[in-house]
Symmetry: C2
């Protein structure tokens, strides 16, 4: 009766402190767990493989992983007529808390570097702003119903991880390997240094995670 | 006895609320004004045109205007043996004050856009970090003696101007005209939206200007 399909293309061993598989097993053992079917697939491929319809589609922190904004466009187009609402959670590109400002800067540095790479497995490949996501959704026929932003607790480690990957020396080598143009190198290195400087003013305090944008879309009438 | 040469390639009518010419006249009328000779020239060309030596060279908020980091390298190389100290003032790519965070983000957005343009008259073409400037200086034989950062008063309008130019709709058209690659467009648009979001949290308050880095270099021995 209630079809719950959960789609993630990642390797079951991906993730920390718990792997994707461990997280899925945790949910499967919950009171609602037996309603959920897990699919290791790309969302576009999954939608093409079935004619199932649902009431709601939830895109939870997946858009920034997409190879390009075209993936979002294809998914939102494929969902038309198959769900009545699309709920989206994604980073807001904004930090209410000072501790999360390095996360905003690091995501821009990482996003700029990845934009030069054809093959990338980084977590940030399409760091679309809430405005850009809303624009694509509107263009394919979805209408923004409600939106708000939330501030993650310091226990959420995503900001810390992203910032660590950008401030680490390895990131400098990644720039050297991926970017030929000196002016482009310069701006990515400067964005990295802006991240380092923003971490510096936390006086050793924890790096936080930026605000999360949450939005509900329905089919435009 | 005391030779004071002041070099700026800009048009005398450039600048607001006072033009460059007005600012120069203001200084010339001061008690030390008659010691200063103004030169409308590129620093590299000026240094090649004379064999004058000085005690100190001051590079005051000029590096970000340079066409590429090579200009800085050439100038610092040409100054060897002709001054004993080089003093540098440039933006720190860091904002101590919340009101200046939009300026950091706007300068990254502008810098990334300009890195794709061969011909540019923008104020930000080589937004080098203090670390990158120090690295170039060290490579050509200068040694960092002292450094500190200062926080500009809200009356300094540079942050406000740069942020306005990036948050204005015109910047979106500049991206469209200058950048072909969709993924590159995305990251510049996202950095622009991060700037807009950072302005939004000032609740209508003034946009500030980011910290200024000040450094003194001497010849390494």
């Amino acid at each position: 009766m209630f079809t719950r399909d959960a789609v993630d293309p990642a390797d079951p061993n991906y993730g920390a402190p718990f792997t994707l598989e461990q997280a899925q097993q945790h949910i499967s053992k919950s009171p609602v767990g037996n309603r959920i079917t897990w699919h290791q697939a790309l969302p576009e491929e999954f939608l093409a493989s079935t004619e199932t319809t649902w009431d709601i589609a939830v895109l939870s922190h997946c858009i920034w992983y997409f190879e390009s904004p075209e993936s979002l466009r294809n998914i939102l187009t494929a969902l038309k007529g198959r769900v009545t609402h699309v709920c989206i959670a994604e980073y807001a590109l904004h930090a209410t808390q000072k501790a999360a400002i390095p996360h905003v800067l690091a995501s821009i540095a990482r996003g700029t570097l990845e934009s030069y790479r054809n093959e990338s497995n980084a977590n940030i490949r399409s760091p679309m702003s809430p405005q850009a996501i809303t624009q694509v959704a509107t263009q394919v026929g979805w209408s923004l119903q409600r939106q708000c932003t939330g501030i993650p607790e310091l226990e959420l480690l995503d900001g810390h991880w992203e910032v660590s990957s950008v401030t680490h020396d390895h990131f400098v080598r990644e720039i050297e390997e991926s970017v030929q143009n000196d002016r482009l190198k310069l701006i990515i290195e400067s964005t990295r240094q802006a991240t380092v400087a923003a971490v510096g003013t936390l006086n050793g305090g924890k790096v936080g995670t930026m605000d999360v944008w949450v939005a509900i879309f329905s089919l435009a009438v």
